[in-house]
Structures are given as structure tokens and as C-alpha cells.
């Protein structure tokens, strides 16, 4: 049985905990043994991307200590995975931890990448009877070269119809602190993404990065769009029985 340590990014921990639980649910279903090292905090990307490498470094070192003994680390964000795999070696260059950073880079995986490339699974027994379009999150696509893995997983979901949206590879405009430093540009990019999602006739826009989804969701709801956002893990977590339970639970909530 594959042992997997969950790496739940800080904002997923605080703002979209359901995504983390869904990741655990899917990994468990395919037979992984899961642990969540509670000492984890953040990968350091906010400081790193803003240029504060001296502040990012101790946070990265903390991450390496927490996951030192992990066999495989799985993360529901291509962006945070990129930070660890692609940027830790540069951030920690010239420090004693650089070799450990490189080793960690070969053991950390984005969720869909782990399922398809490491676990060799494309059908996780999910059921989601909706039309969805996939948004290629930038870091997953251009830093980790993940393109087909999430689509492969979606094609095996019962009842799901996958449609391609126009310019699926175009950035949604989130971009970390860019989203608030240059809110007007970020929102303009988000509107373009929202428009393409609506034109695709999809009911759901699905992606592998909760940060993009948080941003796109805020844009879509502001324009009273009919399109909703959902993380790949939350689709894969739904089985025929569990799916009904989730839907009836949300109906019950909205009836309150």
C-alpha cells in the first residue's frame, strides 16, 4: 500500500478545507495509506513570489523538516507543488538543505499527477453527472507540464461530459499578491476567463488549483453567472451514493 503524506496549502487549510478532505477521500479509495503531518504551515510561495526570499527561506526549511521522512507528498495545488519542486533548489542554493530540497522535489506531486503517473490510476470510481470545462492552471501547465492527467481522470468519471473552453490555457488572473496589488487587471483577466467558461456551456469550471478557483468563483458570482467552480478532487470524491448524499446535504442547507 502506497504511503502518502498530505500537503494541504495554507489557504486550502483555512478557506477551502473541503478540498483537502476530498483529496484524502480519493486517495484512500484507491488504497493509499494517508497521514497529515500537522506541523505543516505554508510552502513559502507568497514571500518568494513577492521577492522576500530571506523570509521565504526559513518557511521552506520548516516544510522540508516536516516532510523529511515522507515517501510521497501529495498536494491539491499545482502552484504550491511548483514552489517545492521547481523553486526550492533555487531558493535554498548555497545552503546545507539544497540537496534535501532536490530530493523533496522528486517526492512531491500535484494531486492529478500523482493519481495518473505515480499510482497509475485514471478511473477512481467517481460519478458526477454534469457538463464541465477544465481550466489549465498556469503553474500546473507551464511549470509542471500537467495537461492530460486531469482530463484523463475527468473522462473516466461516470455521467460527466468534458467540454473544452476557448483559451483554457490563458491565465485566470489570480497570481498571488498580484490579485490585490493590481486588482483591476486581475479582475479584467478573470472576466475574460469567466466569459470563456460561460461560452463553453459548461455547468462547472474545474481546475487543479484552489487559488485560481477562489478567484474565478468570486468573479463568476459577482456577475451572477450560472457557471460554478469546483476542484478536481471534489469531482473525483463523488461516487454514485456519496454524490447523492452531498447533493441532498446541500439542498438541506439551502432549505434552512
Amino acid at each position: 500500500m502506497q504511503k502518502v503524506s498530505l500537503f494541504i496549502p495554507c489557504f486550502v487549510d483555512q478557506l477551502t478545507p473541503a478540498v483537502g478532505m476530498d483529496v484524502a477521500r480519493v486517495l484512500r479509495r484507491i488504497g493509499c495509506e494517508i497521514d497529515f503531518p500537522e506541523a505543516q504551515t505554508c510552502c513559502g510561495q507568497p514571500a518568494f513570489n513577492t521577492g522576500y526570499w530571506d523570509d521565504a527561506r526559513p518557511v521552506a526549511e520548516h516544510f522540508l523538516r516536516v516532510f523529511r521522512t515522507a515517501e510521497a507528498v501529495v498536494c491539491p495545488s499545482g502552484s504550491c507543488t511548483t514552489m517545492v519542486r521547481n523553486f526550492y533548489p533555487e531558493l535554498l542554493a548555497g545552503t546545507p538543505l539544497v540537496d534535501e530540497a532536490k530530493s523533496m522535489g522528486s517526492r512531491v506531486f500535484e494531486f492529478s499527477e500523482f493519481l495518473v503517473k505515480v499510482a497509475g490510476v485514471t478511473d477512481v470510481g467517481a460519478h458526477f453527472p454534469h457538463r464541465v470545462a477544465f481550466h489549465d492552471a498556469c503553474h500546473g501547465l507551464r511549470e509542471l507540464h500537467i495537461k492530460q492527467e486531469p482530463r484523463e481522470l475527468l473522462r473516466h468519471v461516470r455521467g460527466l461530459e468534458l467540454v473544452e473552453m476557448a483559451r483554457s490555457e490563458e491565465c485566470c488572473g489570480f497570481g498571488g499578491t498580484f490579485a490585490t496589488k493590481f486588482g483591476m487587471i486581475s479582475a479584467a483577466m478573470g472576466e475574460t476567463k469567466a466569459g470563456n467558461a460561460e461560452a463553453s456551456s459548461a455547468e462547472y469550471l474545474v481546475s487543479t488549483d484552489p487559488s485560481c478557483l477562489l478567484h474565478i468563483d468570486g468573479i463568476l458570482r459577482r456577475r451572477d453567472s450560472g457557471v460554478r467552480t469546483i476542484h478536481l478532487a471534489s469531482i473525483l470524491a463523488r461516487t454514485e451514493v456519496a454524490g447523492e448524499r452531498v447533493e441532498s446535504a446541500s439542498r438541506a442547507r439551502s432549505a434552512e
Binding site: 487549510d13 504551515t41 521577492g51 498556469c138 486581475s186 468570486g218
Partner: protein
């Protein structure tokens, strides 16, 4: 006084709401994308073409001294002049002095970004010289008293109707009579041609840039689609080419790959319509060409960038404009919002080096770091990672605001331990939930105001993942 950063923010706010311009950009980029897809098909392996161009530029830049001297030797042997301009001021003065000494009254210019960089035209106009842009797009923006909107397509932001209106106002005598509502493209082009013919045949000096300086041949290579460079370098008595030193390439044969790669990346063409090689003034046995040929080799900050091993490859840039077209930020704000000669990703990377990191660091932050630019660059410049390096350099230089510095120190302390992080998260969520329960979401009192100013407020969960996980016993 407004800083360049404030100017950028103000223009970004204005331009993201400017739907007609954004529509024009979208239209132009859609056409460009389709053309590039076709253009790339001429390559058996486009990626190999990019790699080859990268290697040619790498070789040239790492032996820049040798290749520039080789170029100079050949040009001088044919009777041409080579002037080494360390600064923009040196380059402007050389051209202005030359024009004054030779009694030049009219100049025709072929499209050149480097002359924009050194603000050459205003300097010449102050001497009473008439300067005509002869590239159609440049001619249009000159009539509007605007800088080029885009490196390759200077009038990208304008529609046919905009241009027709402009020509009826400014070129009334060149427009066909009785065609006051005519916005037929051939007629507009004919009007521009009539206006420009007069300039071409009265000019004493032609000014061009160059796409490449070919070292072993001692020639400049100019690429255009309108042939205006040929008329501008053949008719006037004097030809002055102003070229950044990074444009040198080792060998003539390098053009075999650089020309098609540049054409495909720039406009999606298999090859650009006119490719000229010029190596000197008219030789005794030749029938045309200028009496004098001058090449101004411009440094203007480039050798400082050359000294920076981490970012040296930024000098590979062939000014194809493909990173601008690929950039969602450029498409949202347009070229003028940058208030710099070079806009888009390459401008955001390069401008801090040419004009100061302190004043132009904001451009390196005005990016989501999506990497679309890097994926299209035909000479493989790692553009979005250089933006990241500029940010790091800005922090190291102490150029960032104090509240941001303190913010990240607090962030680091919080992230040093999971209990602190969990407590800070709980505090933030609880406070936000209370304020949201009071109906303050999206108001100026919203703690997430910078976020909710442009987006619906997120649903803030009561429990974090770690709390949920613990309660579920890890199941």
C-alpha cells in the same frame, strides 16, 4: 509629482475599462494566433528552431566585443562610418550634429524601437527638421502624436474607422476627393502612400534601425513588410542606422534560421516580405544607394545587463512582440498603460535595467507570473522567472514599502510554527465571519476589501482543514 508606478495604476484602471480598445487587441491577437499556427508548420521542429536561435544569440552575446569589432572593420573598409554611443544622449547628438552639418531639412524613418528608446524624433524636430515615420502603423500613431502601442504592430489599438477618421482630419489633401466617409483599406493605404511619396523624395536623410548586425559580412539586416526601408535607404543622400549592440550575430548563415523564426514569431509569416542587407554607402560601380552610410551602435545600459550573468539572456530579444501578444496583462491594459518604450513582458523585464529598478520595479509586480511569455519566446528568454528575479532584487535593494516588509516579517513568524499559524487563521476567519454576519462583506470595513473590491466575498468556513481532520480522526 506622479511616479511611474502611480501612472501605471491610473492607466491600468482606465484601460481595463476601455472595451473598444480591448476588443481591438483581442481581434488582432486572434488573427495573430491563427497566423502563427500556420507559420509554425513550415518548421519540421519549431522547438529546435527556437533552440538554434537561442544558441546563436548566446554565442554572439558571450563574444560581443569580438563580433562588434569585426562588424565595424568591414563597414569601415567599405567607407561607412561607425559611431559607438554609450548613452541615448550620445546617439541623439551624433545624429543631430550630422543632420545640422549636412543641412538636412527632411528625414524619413523606417520603423525602429531603438529610436523610440532614445527619443530621437523630438530632438530632431526641435532643430526644425521634419521627420516622417514611413511604416504605415508608425505613420498612423505619429499623426495621432502617440508612441507605438506595440513593438511590431504600432497601431494595434485602432480600428479601420479610427484610421479613416484620422486621415480625413490630417491628410485631407492626400485623400481622394468626395470620399468623406470612405474607410476602404486600399484607399487609406493609397492616401498614406501619396503623403509619404512626397516625404521620401524630399528627404536628405533616411534613418533606420536594424534587426541584426551581421559580423562576418559587416552588414545590417533590416526586415519589413512594406519595403519602406528600401526606399528610405536608397533615395536620401545619407543613411543612418541606429542599432542596439545586442543585435549582433556572428555569421550571415545564421539568418537562414533567424529570419524565418523572427517572421513566424512576429506575425506568423513564413518569411517577412522585405529582407535587406546593407553594408556601406554606394560603391563606385553601383547605381543607387546613399552617399554616406553611418551606423550608431547604442549601449544605453546594455553592457550593465551584459554584466549580470543571471539576466544576460534578456539581451537575446529580437523584438518580435510575441510575448506581448501572449500576455494576458498586456491584452488587458494595452501598450500605452506601461508608459515605457518597451511594453509587455519584455518591457517589464528590461525597463528596470535601462531606466532604474527603483522607479520601474512595479512592472515586475504587474504580472501573475503565468509564464505564457516564456512559452512563446523564439529565443527562449526565461521571461517570467526574470520578473521574479527583478522582484527579489527590488527587495534586496530596500526599494519596497515599509508596510510590506513588516508584513512579510510577521508572516514568517506566523508560518514558523503550526500552532501560531492555526491560531492566526482561526482569528482571521472568526473576525471575518462576525463582520460578514453583520453584513459588512464587500464594504470598506471588509477585512478582505482588497479582494472583495473586485470579487464576490468568499464563504469563510468555520473550521480549518486541520480541525476537521483532527475531529474526523484522520478518516
Amino acid at each position: 509629482m506622479t511616479t511611474p508606478a502611480q501612472e501605471f495604476l491610473r492607466s491600468a484602471t482606465q484601460e481595463t475599462a476601455n472595451q473598444p480598445t480591448r476588443r481591438a487587441i483581442r481581434h488582432a491577437v486572434d488573427q495573430y494566433d491563427a497566423a502563427v499556427q500556420r507559420g509554425r508548420r513550415q518548421f519540421v521542429d519549431w522547438e529546435a528552431g527556437r533552440q538554434k536561435c537561442y544558441e546563436i544569440k548566446w554565442e554572439a552575446l558571450n563574444h560581443l566585443d569580438q563580433y562588434l569589432l569585426e562588424f565595424e572593420k568591414h563597414v569601415k573598409a567599405r567607407g561607412g562610418h561607425v559611431f559607438w554611443a554609450e548613452t541615448a544622449e550620445d546617439a541623439r547628438r551624433y545624429v543631430a550634429d550630422l543632420a545640422t552639418q549636412r543641412g538636412v531639412r527632411t528625414i524619413v524613418k523606417s520603423k525602429s524601437m531603438v529610436t523610440e528608446e532614445i527619443h530621437l524624433t523630438p530632438a530632431l524636430e526641435r532643430l526644425g527638421i521634419r521627420v516622417f515615420e514611413t511604416d504605415l502603423g508608425e505613420f498612423i500613431v505619429q499623426l495621432r502624436n502617440e508612441p507605438p502601442f506595440h513593438i511590431v504592430t504600432p497601431a494595434m489599438h485602432l480600428t479601420r474607422a479610427d484610421i479613416a477618421k484620422l486621415f480625413h482630419e490630417k491628410l485631407a489633401d492626400a485623400m481622394a476627393s468626395g470620399s468623406s466617409s470612405n474607410d476602404d483599406p486600399p484607399e487609406l493605404v493609397a492616401a498614406a502612400r501619396r503623403a509619404l511619396r512626397r516625404a521620401f523624395f524630399s528627404a536628405e536623410m533616411g534613418i533606420t534601425g536594424a534587426n541584426f548586425l551581421v559580423a562576418d559580412a559587416g552588414m545590417i539586416a533590416i526586415t519589413t513588410n512594406e519595403g519602406n526601408d528600401r526606399l528610405g535607404t536608397a533615395v536620401p543622400r545619407i543613411h543612418v542606422a541606429i542599432v542596439g549592440i545586442e543585435k549582433v550575430i556572428p555569421r550571415l548563415e545564421n539568418l537562414a534560421v533567424l529570419w524565418p523564426v523572427l517572421a513566424t514569431a512576429g506575425t506568423g509569416q513564413t518569411i517577412t516580405c522585405y529582407n535587406s542587407l546593407i553594408g556601406g554607402p554606394r560603391a563606385p560601380d553601383e547605381v543607387d544607394g546613399p552617399e554616406e552610410f553611418h551606423v550608431v551602435l547604442l549601449d544605453n545600459g546594455r553592457t550593465d545587463l551584459l554584466a549580470d550573468a543571471e539576466q544576460r539572456e534578456v539581451l537575446h530579444c529580437v523584438r518580435c512582440g510575441s510575448c506581448l501578444n501572449a500576455c494576458p496583462v498586456f491584452r488587458a491594459v494595452g501598450g500605452h498603460a506601461y508608459h515605457t518604450t518597451y511594453s509587455g513582458p519584455i518591457g517589464s523585464v528590461l525597463t528596470p535595467h535601462l531606466r532604474g529598478l527603483n522607479e520601474f520595479q512595479h512592472l515586475s509586480y504587474a504580472s501573475s507570473l503565468c509564464g505564457a511569455c516564456t512559452s512563446v519566446c523564439p529565443v527562449k528568454i526565461d521571461l517570467h522567472h526574470h520578473l521574479l528575479h527583478n522582484r527579489r532584487n527590488a527587495v534586496q535593494a530596500g526599494d519596497r514599502p515599509w508596510h510590506e516588509r513588516i508584513g512579510f516579517q510577521l508572516w514568517r513568524l506566523t508560518m514558523a510554527g503550526s500552532r501560531r499559524f492555526a491560531f492566526a487563521g482561526w482569528l482571521g476567519r472568526t473576525a471575518t465571519r462576525i463582520l460578514y454576519a453583520l453584513g459588512l462583506a464587500g464594504t470598506p470595513l471588509d477585512p478582505l476589501r482588497p479582494w472583495t473590491k473586485y470579487r464576490a466575498a468568499p464563504a469563510v468556513p468555520q473550521k480549518s482543514f486541520r480541525a476537521t481532520w483532527r475531529e474526523s480522526g484522520g478518516r
